[in-house]
Amino acid sequence: MARLDLKHIQKQFDQVTALSELSLEVASGELVSLLGPSGCGKTTALRIVAGFEQPTAGELLVDGNDVIGVPASKRNMGMVFQAYSLFPNMTAKQNVEFGLRMRKVARDKTRKRADELLEMVGLATRSARYPHELSGGQQQRVALARALAIEPAILLLDEPLSALDAKVRVELRQEIRRVQTELGITTLYVTHDQEEALSISDRIAVMSEGNLEQIGAPADIYRSPRTEFVANFVGLMNGFEGLMHADDVVAVGKSGRPMHVTQDHGHASGEKVLVLIRPESIDLEELRDGVAPPEGVFEGEVLMHTFLGSVTRVALASDLGDLVADVPSIRALTMPPETRVGVHVEAAGIRLLPR
């Protein structure tokens, strides 16, 4: 277990800035995900930590020791790659043993450790198979075992599940989290998949264009995004223009209808804000013809349904503007397109960002 500190790391590729002053701390035994769209610099950051890229500026500390300039082979960091990276000329077991052989660990210890790790990733019966005889998911499990065999100070995972199908992805991410928790290994995990990051991380660092937008626990990132980018990238968000009326009242959308806010936001009256509402914070109820919506409830009309299984995503045109709401699929049946509905927004589900 080791502590990892990235301090003001910069990386420039010719004229392109891949990372601008990235600072990040990963505590011992913690799993931090770098989450962001393609080209945001997350993989570059991981490759700098691994030693495959050199930063233009900044410090990289492992347990307080600067490791910049230390070759990748001497950093003691295990890495699982996005592409299948098992050595084709070796069996699953030989792949796992490889790192230990390089370190000249005694043969019987090497074998024992490889057996243990293959057992841990559920591939003990397939240890004699060559990579091309294994499925994609099995190959990534072996790659994980290989990375763990050397008892690395830090485990680095570069989108290890992106080449796998959805079901295997879910299984394997749970497996990775289980193994990581079991071994208590400090882990940096790169992904563009928000669901993956939300489900396995202790903390998530959301990145955009080489900058760290926000870092925090998955629930905080989801519930309290600090920037518009984070709000839009993590989960689905309805966004409206708003104007503060009072500490706890904001006028929303074109109609300027007031909404109560419980967030401790610090915006002064008369300030323009961005009002953010998650689809699951919106409740819909059918309105009878000629009946006005009750106080605090907006009026809307159902435009479209998207069935997602247990919930249905309902697109609406409302007093607030166009929005989407997630409602239980059973209830959505009673609100087909063109139904007039009342739109109730939970005050606790409203987030305000400065405009």
């Binding site: 691994a50 030693g51 495959f52 070759p71 990748a72 082979s73 001497k74 003691n76 960091m77 295990g78 890495m79 790659f81 592409a83 299948y84 990276s85 098992l86 050595f87 084709p88 000329n89 490889f98 790192g99 390089m102 370190r103 060559y130 990579p131 091309h132 005889e133 294994l134 499925s135 994609g136 998911g137 190959q139 790659a143 290989r146 990375a147 065999a149 050397i150 680095l156 080449a163 796998l164 199908d165």
Partner: protein
């Protein structure tokens, strides 16, 4: 009214379908005939001269056949000397070529992918510059350092240039077939230094490409005549040329022996390619499972 017209249409359709079938069959038979025709023609084009040479090489008298000329060739000490000399040169060329090109191609793939077009261009230069021009160019070097010509090993170094297109192409294709960058980084991440990565991870996965390069080099060196004759070295190709100019039937026997050697090399390549195809089908099939 409607029913009969439908029936007529159905019958018409059936008739059309019925007419189409034999037409298609006839067309298929016709295509098959021409396929076999051209195949046989191509085979005859190659096999008739070969058969004639074989027959001529086996003829020991009027309507008498035997291996007399073959035995004469095998008994000729020059055959053994020149063959072994060329074989030694071929092995040396293979070793020097691979020792030079494997790390180069690996490094280009790993660190300098932008240099690949330049490498492609350099690798085809031996095709553009004829061997005679190469010898003329080298004569300048030999004038400065005449002692170089005293050692026959110099030929191996020249042959490395001659075999460069084949060596480079084969190794380049081999490197492309494996994910060099990821494999190297994976090896380094678990503690393998550069040379161990090359030795234990890259080279074993390049076995087929290296064997391919080796066999092609072998075939080139065994048949190279221009450079060796101009530099006055007695290689196997020079011996074949000499026999061809002096004795007709042993020359035919030698041509068949030479053909068998080349054919043997080709067959080795063919079986290696088959093995490679089987091995490479694995990872591709696994993707997405």
């Amino acid at each position: 009214m409607g029913v009969p017209s439908t029936r007529t249409a159905q019958m018409a359709a059936m008739t059309t379908v019925g007419d189409d079938k034999p037409k298609k069959v006839r067309k298929r038979h016709k295509m098959r005939f021409w396929t076999y025709f051209w195949l046989i023609m191509a085979a005859l084009y190659f096999l008739v001269p070969l058969y004639s040479t074989l027959q001529f090489s086996l003829e020991t008298g009027q309507h008498a056949y035997g291996f007399k000329w073959y035995l004469q060739i095998f008994r000729d000490p020059m055959f053994r000397t020149t063959f072994l000399f060329s074989l030694r040169l071929a092995v040396e060329t293979v070793i020097i070529g691979l020792a030079l090109m494997v790390p180069t191609v690996y490094w280009v793939h790993l660190r300098l992918p932008r240099v690949r077009p330049v490498m492609d261009l350099i690798s085809i230069l031996p095709f553009v510059v004829p061997p005679v021009a190469l010898v003329v160019g080298l004569s300048g070097v030999f004038n400065l350092m005449p002692w170089l010509l005293a050692n026959s090993q110099i030929l191996a170094f020249i042959y490395v240039i001659l075999a460069l297109p084949f060596t480079y192409r084969s190794l380049d294709a081999g490197m492309r077939a494996i994910n060099v960058k990821t494999l190297t980084e994976a090896a380094q991440s678990v503690g393998a230094p550069g040379w161990k990565t090359l030795l234990f991870v890259i080279l074993p996965n390049m076995r087929t490409a290296m064997l391919g390069a080796a066999f092609l080099t072998l075939a080139i060196v065994m048949g190279e005549y221009t450079i060796s004759s101009l530099l006055l070295f007695n290689t196997f190709a020079v011996y074949i040329y000499y026999i061809g100019n002096t004795e007709a039937q042993p020359a035919a026997a030698l041509a068949i022996i030479s053909f068998a050697l080349t054919w043997g090399t080709m067959m080795c390549l063919f079986f290696l390619a088959k093995t490679r195809g089987r091995a490479s089908s694995g990872p591709t099939a696994a993707v997405g499972r």
